[in-house]
């Protein structure tokens, strides 16, 4: 089963829940840290990291020796990521690609009319390469064929936006996506982290907070989503939005109320009114907060908590298979 743990806002205990769930499963499972801007699951799990992979996206590069300043690439880019400055008077022509604006859609390379004559024979190759769906499908995967693309005056090059780290602790495999500082494109990295889900293992996905694209990418394809919230007006406001997203995506979900005794009952009333299953209520204890601040998972410091988490699983399973 693939279970995503999400939350309308940060700081509700999403990572804590993900790690503790993985540890209380008591069978081999995979924990995917998709909170790629601030991945923190490893701090609690303390795995041994075994290897890492780069995550690349494709960003175009202009070859000024071939470019004829027609401006087609800039014209087709919907994100205004390209500026072409044709030669004027004594000034040589130039151009810029603003990497942070580029979404790697591939349109600029496709529409660039210039194919150097020497490499023209490979032109049909390029078209073939851009066309097959399998290759065009993923923005992060096509890079290995980049050389043949260079026949155009503008061609795509790989650019690293982050890393994927593979670690293990006991029965838990941890796969962490880590966005490089200064990078803003979380979605391709999350997509790549999720490619590592293996069909025969349970997977727990720690999703990024919020309700925008990265969160949607992380929960997409999950069998079930656990929404973590706290019973404060802020928590409730953001829970309502997260519920809206999951209903739109038609993914079954339940709610875990963290620090449930540390707020008011509006959250529980909302769940009852909306017919949303409350999977667990975790009490606020100062000793829990202290263990968290030290980076110790609850089930390690307080083994008696482990039932609380394995019960969440049982509830989800009975809901899914009934």
């Amino acid at each position: 089963m693939k279970i995503a743990v999400a939350s309308g806002k940060g700081g509700t205990g999403k990572t804590t829940l993900s790690v503790n769930l993985a540890l209380s499963l008591n069978r081999r499972c995979c924990l995917l840290d998709c909170d790629v801007e601030e991945p923190n699951a490893h701090i609690f799990l303390k795995p041994k990291f075994l290897r890492e992979e780069k995550c690349n996206v494709l960003i175009p590069e202009i070859d000024f020796k071939k470019c004829v300043w027609c401006g087609k690439c800039a014209e087709v880019c919907a994100y205004n990521a390209i500026v072409i400055v044709p030669p004027s008077g004594k000034n040589e022509g130039t151009g810029f690609v603003f990497e942070h604006l580029c979404h790697s859609c591939g349109a600029c390379e496709y529409f660039c009319p210039i194919i150097s004559s020497k490499e023209a024979s490979s032109a049909t190759e390029i078209n073939k390469e851009i066309k097959p769906r399998r290759l065009a499908k993923s923005i992060s995967e096509r890079g290995s064929n980049q050389c043949s693309g260079s026949a155009k005056a503008i061609s795509e090059k790989k650019k690293e936006i982050g890393k994927i780290e593979f670690g293990r602790k006991g029965k838990v495999d941890l796969i962490t996506g880590r966005l490089n500082v200064g990078e803003i494109r979380a979605v391709p990295l999350i997509e790549k982290v999720k490619k590592n889900i293996s069909l025969n293992l349970d997977a727990i996905i720690d999703a990024p907070p919020g309700t925008s694209c990265p969160m949607v990418e992380a929960v997409k394809g999950a069998d079930y989503v656990i929404l973590v919230t706290e019973p404060t007006p802020f928590g409730l406001n953001d829970l309502v939005l997260a519920v809206e997203v999951l209903r739109k995506l038609s993914i079954p979900f339940g709610v875990v109320v963290n620090r449930y005794d540390y707020g008011d009952d509006r959250t529980l009333k909302y769940c009852a009114r909306e017919n949303i299953k409350v999977l667990a209520k975790i009490p606020f204890k100062r000793k829990f907060a202290e263990a968290y601040s030290k980076g110790i998972p609850l089930v390690e410091e307080f083994p008696e908590c482990s039932r609380l988490f394995s019960d969440i699983f049982k509830r989800i399973e009975s809901e899914m298979f009934s």
């Binding site: 309308g8 806002k9 940060g10 700081g11 509700t12 801007e37 601030e38 923190n40 701090i43 087709v76 919907a78 994100y79 942070h100 979404h103 790697s104 859609c105 591939g106 349109a107 496709y110 529409f111 851009i130 066309k131 097959p132 769906r133 065009a136 499908k137 993923s138 923005i139 500082v181 200064g182 803003i184 979380a186 907070p209 919020g210 309700t211 925008s212 694209c213 949607v216 404060t232 007006p233 802020f234 406001n237 953001d238 939005l241 809206e244 997203v245 739109k248 995506l249 540390y262 707020g263 008011d264 100062r286 907060a289 202290e290 968290y292 601040s293 030290k294 980076g295």
Partner: protein
């Protein structure tokens, strides 16, 4: 006019609570809630909406069934997997690159306007608030943040208000970058946790990239005095003003539940500290001005 931002490396550190408290303590100001993905500041300010505007994001592709000949071209080139087998565009996956529209031999693809959110100007008990709501599953690209900030600045100039308080989004992504430009002073709110220091450092380096002066503040500081101490020495070593500590205080939540700010409801330990911190921050903002 000065602009003050409250930011944090991760969510849930008490950033909005602090922004709300500053809003209450500052005399003449306009507030801008730039946490457009999880906008919460309005919950503390009981706003009355004066203006409501649509925010348009990237256009989305729409395939006209009657013209489409199912040639499959668009589906081949879409890198975002947004076009299904029956040539219906999945609005959530479409990133609006318009590649499909340009390649379609039948001109069957229309790029349609997409309302990605709304933004508002509201009257609150502490003054004007500019806030926004990004639609669900939309790209949080920083553009909406820029709209909110632009409006707040414009209002401040129009009304002769000399301070804009910006409740920034958490994290280090694009919206944060949009929140940091032209800021005079940024308060980084953190908690004394193992990950908190790491997250704070990341956001501080982002702020420094924009040459914004920063101050560090530790919320719920007594949960782990050891890490609080480390944060203090980190601030000293890196030449960042350490603004102070706020102890863990249940009154903060109690006030929130009552739809109020902790500084409005009385004299709890946290409220006392926040008042002191506000004085320090105020001095820093107007530092050098006479």
């Amino acid at each position: 006019m000065k602009q003050l931002a409250i930011i944090s490396g991760k969510g849930g550190t008490g950033k909005t609570t602090l922004a709300g408290a500053f809003a209450c303590l500052a005399k003449n100001k306009i507030m801008a809630d730039c946490d457009v993905d999880a906008a919460d500041l309005h919950l503390l300010l009981s706003p009355k909406i004066l203006e409501e505007h649509d925010f348009f994001g990237m256009e989305k592709a729409f395939i006209k069934k009657d013209i489409c000949i199912s040639c499959g071209k668009c589906r081949e080139i879409c890198r975002f997997n947004a076009i299904g087998k029956t040539y219906i565009v999945d609005k959530i996956s479409c990133e609006g690159c318009a590649f499909c529209a340009k390649i379609c031999p039948e001109k069957a693809v229309e790029m349609k306007k997409n309302q990605a959110g709304k933004w508002f100007v509201s009257e609150t008990k502490f003054g004007l608030l500019v806030h926004a709501k990004l639609g669900i599953a939309e790209e949080n690209s920083g553009k909406l943040v820029s709209v909110v900030r632009g409006k707040a600045k414009e209002l401040a100039q129009e009304k002769g208000v000399d301070l804009v308080i910006v409740d920034g989004p958490p994290g280090i992504g694009c919206p944060v970058m949009a929140s940091l430009s032209e800021i005079d002073f940024a308060v980084v709110v953190t908690e004394p946790t193992f990950s908190g220091l790491h997250d704070a450092k990341r956001v501080i380096s982002a702020a420094r990239h924009f040459k914004v002066e920063v101050g560090l503040l530790v919320n719920k500081s007594d949960l782990n005095p050891e890490i609080t101490g480390k944060m203090k020495s980190y601030a000293e070593e890196s030449n960042i003003s350490f603004l102070g500590e706020i102890p863990f205080d249940k009154d903060v939540i109690n006030a929130l539940i009552a739809g109020k700010n902790v500084v409005e409801t009385g004299n709890s330990p946290a409220a006392g500290r926040i008042r002191e911190i506000w004085k320090t921050v105020k001095d820093r903002i107007y530092d050098g001005d006479t």
